[in-house]
């Protein structure tokens, strides 16, 4: 696992939107890696996740 990237194991069936709401990440500057592909959360907010699925949360980081 990379330093600032958090991998989340989904505990119960849900959607990306519900998961983001639960994690209070709805307005955070992040990308998600789902099944090896990168998305902005709202691109796939209705995607269904099953228990045990893994989602990596990749923060966008500003410098200077």
């Amino acid at each position: 696992m990379k330093a600032s990237i958090e991998e989340i194991a989904v505990k119960e069936d849900t959607t990306i939107k519900a998961l983001m709401d639960e994690l209070q990440l709805s307005s955070a500057p992040i990308l998600l890696e789902v099944s090896g592909e990168i998305f902005y959360p709202d691109e796939i907010e209705n995607r269904r996740l099953r228990r045990g699925d893994k989602v990596a949360v990749i923060p966008l980081i500003a410098g200077g």
């Binding site: 990237i5 592909e37 200077g64």
Partner: protein, 262 residues
Amino acid sequence: MEIILYDEGTAQELDIEEIARYLAQKMGKVRVEVRGNPFAFNLSQDKVSDYARKIAGTKIQEVSQKILSGQEPLYGEIEYEKRRILGKTRSFGILYDGFHLLRIFCEIMSREESSLEFVHIFFTNRLFATWDDSNKRYHLRTSVYGIPSIISTTGLVEAPAKPREYYLLKQQYERLGKDLTELKDRFRESIIDYEDKRLTEVTKGYAMQAVFYSLTGAPFCEDKGCRLYNAHWQEELIFAQLWGEYEFCGRHTRILEGLRKK
């Protein structure tokens, strides 16, 4: 891993080919490609208007007002961005929301290359800022790391603060109507300015921050002498990128050595 560099309007300021050679030297067997203008590479002309509208929608009107995603820009703003995309004008005096801008640049890239295995770096002269919820205002930035990463040459000049003495003297100069270029000359060693010959060398360190973002998820280092140091002052930037005794701290040097051996 593959590193792909884009020139989003910096041609006169940066030697991107030199940055590519530097990255290739540091990263060993990693492929480094220079693609030039990202819009020319991957954008059909009929999409120019669409992207121009989206980019114009990321313009910050007021630094204490967070912009909304998808805000509707004015006709003139869209026309300006069209010319900017087509390379017919240069960005000047406009401040963009860095995270929104990054998202638009992300749309330009092909889905197949949209992963942490590819390090996409957009060099731009657009000035951008990100919103800070703690004090409810935008802050100028040198770079935003994501997919892709964006490094701003204007941001390298404007975002890190100049020495305090510079601002005090600047007030005096302005009061007395004196030429500000004389002031900049006085501080030439401790600030990076527009058309600065050191800009390419400085930017190499920021490109490495983008590489480490993809490698480890962490672009920065706490060591003020390491090129990955997140400088907030011009003097810190110059020390980390130009005057430090070493390029990278011990930990990051070992990571790079490990990569080159692979």
